[in-house]
């Protein structure tokens, strides 16, 4: 079972209240991008064993999209943060580094 704290309403939301949105912080390639970059944007994902930055939506609650950092192997949650950013906040990265002994996603 996975519990993620929605940064908008503060609820510790059960996984069944959430809709997964896949890998976070993708660069959205447009019509002027190269074929390779567009293919990577549409199809290629990191799928790491370990720290992963993801998008989730509080679908059954406040309805907002947010971000979460989670270990895909252990389901350890390092934190959640709002959708209004294009990279994880530094304090979260520091916490992850502390928790994982320096492992980076």
């Amino acid at each position: 079972m996975l519990l993620l704290r929605c940064p908008y309403c503060g609820v510790d939301a059960d996984e069944t209240e959430l809709a997964p949105g896949g890998e976070a912080h993708l660069t959205r390639e447009g019509p002027n991008s190269s074929d390779a970059a567009f293919e990577a944007y549409v199809f290629l994902r990191r799928n790491p064993r370990g720290v992963h930055f993801e998008r989730w939506r509080h679908a059954y609650g406040c309805g907002k999209w947010f971000h979460a950092a989670r270990d895909t192997a252990t389901n350890q949650v390092f934190g959640t943060y709002t959708a209004q950013c294009s990279a994880p906040p530094q304090d979260l990265l520091d916490r992850i580094a502390d928790a994982t002994g320096g492992e980076r996603a």
């Binding site: 908008y8 309403c9 503060g10 609820v11 510790d12 939301a13 059960d14 069944t16 209240e17 679908a59 059954y60 609650g61 406040c62 309805g63 907002k64």
Partner: protein, 209 residues
């Protein structure tokens, strides 16, 4: 209004379909002065904090005169206007049945010039009430929301078994439940099944022996 429960169901808690109320969805900047003024003017409610609701102050003068304790008596008493926090930019205003179009129009007028949306959605949802000392235990079976810690003034959108719904408490020992009307029959069966005698959980409220 559609009827999903013709009469109250008495299990280890009571389940009934609530009387219709006006429901108006209001979206906009909940932190703005204009929003606070409009909601106060139209409903008498303050803007609720996240996961909370506010109720209009009630005149306890009208018939019955139960003025023991807080406004809104334990059992009797009318359900007055209320304002539910639904998301960071959305409220649900509850008012007397039939007043939805008027409430929405007054909000639209009060918020003229402000980015907002006020829509009468009175017919969109069905309302139920689960009451009695073990009411929370009925809800614990069907939602991941932390119902055990909910009390009067709390509001929560969540999942009810297979569908989306909302829970809130305007008074102690009664949980209000809202769902889309299209799944009203499902929720009526869900609540009455969860409240069936013999299905007591006994976690918060000692099971009858």
């Amino acid at each position: 209004m559609s009827e999903f429960l013709s009469r109250p169901y008495e299990g280890f808690a009571r389940v009934e379909q609530s009387a219709p109320r006006a429901m108006v969805s209001l979206r906009g900047d909940l932190g703005s002065q204009a929003m606070a003024a409009a909601v106060s003017e139209v409903s008498g409610c303050a803007i609720p904090e996240p996961l909370r609701l506010t109720q209009a102050a009630q005149d306890d003068d009208r018939g019955g005169g139960q003025t023991s304790g807080q406004s809104g008596a334990q059992h009797g008493g009318q359900y007055g206007a209320a304002c539910l926090w639904m998301s960071p930019d959305e409220l649900l205003l509850l008012g007397p049945a039939g007043t939805g179009p008027e409430l929405a129009a007054r909000l639209t007028e009060a918020l003229a010039g402000q980015h907002h949306l006020a829509v009468d959605v009175s017919e969109a949802r069905a309302l139920f009430r689960v009451s009695g000392p073990a009411a929370r235990e009925v809800m614990m079976k069907i939602t991941p929301a932390d119902v055990a810690r909910m009390g009067p003034g709390d509001a929560r959108r969540t999942r009810l078994a297979q569908i989306a719904g909302a829970l809130w408490m305007e008074r102690e020992a009664a949980i209000e439940v809202a769902c889309f009307r299209s799944v009203g029959a499902y929720v009526a069966e869900l609540l009455t099944t969860a409240a069936r005698s013999g299905g007591e959980v006994g976690l918060l409220h000692p099971a009858a022996t």
